[in-house]
Amino acid sequence: MAHDLTRSNRAGWLMALPGAALIAAFIILPFFLAFAFSLTNQRLVSPNPTEYVGFENYRNMLGLAVFTLEPERDADGKAVRGADGEIEYPRLRKFTRGNPDYPNLRNKREWFGWRSGENRVVVLASDVVFMKSLVNTVFFVLVVAPVQAGAALGLALLINQKLRGINLFRAIYFMPVVVSIVVVSLLWKFIYSPGDGLLNNVLSAATFGAFEPRDWLGNTSTAMGAVIAMSIWQGVGFHMVIWLAGLQNISPTLYEVAKIEGSGRWQTFRYVTWPGLRNTAVLILIVITMQAFALFAQINVMTQGGPLDSTQVLVFQAVERGYGKQDISGGSAISVILFLLVLSISILQRVMTRERA
């Protein structure tokens, strides 16, 4: 009887339709279009018809080759050295530009290389900027996910005390979350200013002048770190709140038992708190990973991918192509790669945490 009461095909469809149709049209359809466009030469506006090009977009971005350069040798077979005593190598261009003997090197450029005996090993990439953005994005995620999750847990434990006024502190820690990442990026860009910038001044005051001011965003060795620090500052309150919800779901009787058993603070955390947080941990890692892969505003506002591509990231590249150069197919290919990365890391996190449970 109850079953018949709730059976209603027409009403059911009608009420679900607007939501389902909108999601189908504006999330699912573009999702599949990204895959389709990435196999074509689709542009935003083009006089020519779109053509199927297979995996060319992917090859143009992911193409890699390793090549060993042998030194130039004189008549005795000794390596030629330049005026500065460094071994001289033939120009890479000889192999990559229209050389029929090395088809796999065609149009590739040097990404990085190292010395091996007298030889020089060079890794070439079809698209060096893309490869850098891929590596930077993965680096960003690998640092941000554990650090931000850990910091958020620390804050959650700090805020989970019974103290007067604790709600005020919770409200303050969460505050940056409601502020736009664009606003936060611009503020931090100012804070990171070189020379007399706020951060430089704070650090030199804290070390009584021992700290050398630096150009945080203008230096390849600090730019990414600066972006990471401000990203965590902005996002950590969000995950603190999720941890907190997890903490408050743990039954108080477990803590009472631990107390009666005389367990110390660390033991209580290790054997009561942490096991109770496992599901929360998986969720938080997946959420942070997804958010971290989407890194864009910070880069666009603070560094534009510089200096020397040290903060190039995938979404920034996808936008630069798909929107900036109106190359929809190239931007779509990057989007697909990004999605596959997000998906595989989410699955990995889920599998790893499930096995341990």
């Binding site: 009420m15 999601i23 309150g237 989007s335």
Partner: protein
């Protein structure tokens, strides 16, 4: 003996508050700096970074930066656009997503579980991975306007609104909440002959205040803070939202920092005030995204 232990407790308490306060300072100082700097002329703003004056309303204090900012950019228009786009999206989203969730929870129809499963799966698609193909769609979708059928959604409000009305997370939040409502109430109303729309409107909606607040807050934050998408689809000044309007200040050769701080304060303080007045609701909204399955 007793005195020693109470001293000890007092000290411990002091240490706890000191740690909490130190952490609070880390989260507050950039925002405090923003608000204070917006009141200072550029030359003072830049030299004040050398001392604690950076966080105090001292020196040559005035609202001149605000006046100059309003002269440089049509800030009123930007704010109005953001309010319009955000408000309309939130309103439609609440209606559309709660209706869909209602149908998934209380009604039985063929294909229901499959459709729900697919919608949930869209969870893992970050918006950033669909923006490029969505941009192409925007350039080619038709629309029925005043002059009949026209092509193209670029440079419109609808491009900023319609794609973001429905999403898997919102529907999921409603579903989780509706599941806990007393089913007998709905079935009893059916027996008495109430239609589904009436049940949704008169029984479920009035019982679901908290989840509507949660979904509204999350959508509001997402929409008001959107940046990448309006950057891609909006070129015209008269429909630009606040985050994109920032370009008026930062694309200058000599960035007028005082005006920038004033603009940042204008677009941030209302949201912060809104947050602080509804602090519990905001925080429990985020917390509820974590209570899964």
């Amino acid at each position: 003996m007793a005195a020693v232990s109470s001293d000890n407790r007092g000290l411990r308490l002091a240490v706890r508050y000191a740690v909490l306060t130190l952490v609070a300072v880390i989260f507050v100082f950039p925002l405090l700096f923003m608000a204070m700097s917006s009141l200072k002329p550029d030359h003072q703003l830049l030299t004040d970074t050398g001392s604690l004056r950076a966080f105090l309303p001292v020196g040559d204090i005035s609202f001149d930066n605000y006046g100059a900012a309003f002269e440089r950019a049509p800030i009123g228009v930007f704010v109005l656009n953001s309010v319009l786009v955000t408000g309309v999206t939130v309103a439609f989203s609440l209606l559309v997503c709660s209706m869909a969730a209602f149908s998934f929870v209380f009604l039985n129809w063929r294909g229901r579980d499959a459709v729900f499963g697919v919608l949930l799966a869209t969870f893992i698609i970050p918006y950033e991975t669909i923006f490029v193909p969505l941009l192409l769609m925007m350039s080619q979708l038709p629309w029925i306007g005043r002059g009949g059928i026209e092509v193209g959604w670029l440079n419109t409000y609808r491009a900023q609104i319609i794609p973001f009305i429905a999403d898997g997370l919102s529907i999921f939040l409603f579903v989780q909440y509706f599941k806990d409502l007393p089913r007998e109430l709905i079935e009893a109303s059916r027996v008495e002959g109430a239609g589904w729309w009436l049940i949704y409107r008169r029984i479920v909606m009035p019982l679901s205040g908290p989840v509507f607040a949660t979904a509204a807050i999350l959508k509001f934050l997402f929409m008001y803070n959107q940046y990448l998408w309006p950057l891609m689809v909006v070129q015209a000044e008269d429909i630009r939202p606040v985050m994109v309007g920032l370009g008026y200040f930062t694309d200058q050769l000599n960035v007028p920092w005082g005006e920038v701080m004033a603009y940042l304060t204008i677009i941030t303080v209302p949201v912060l005030a809104f947050y602080l007045s509804l602090q519990r609701a905001f925080i429990s909204s985020v917390a509820s995204t974590g209570v899964k399955g």
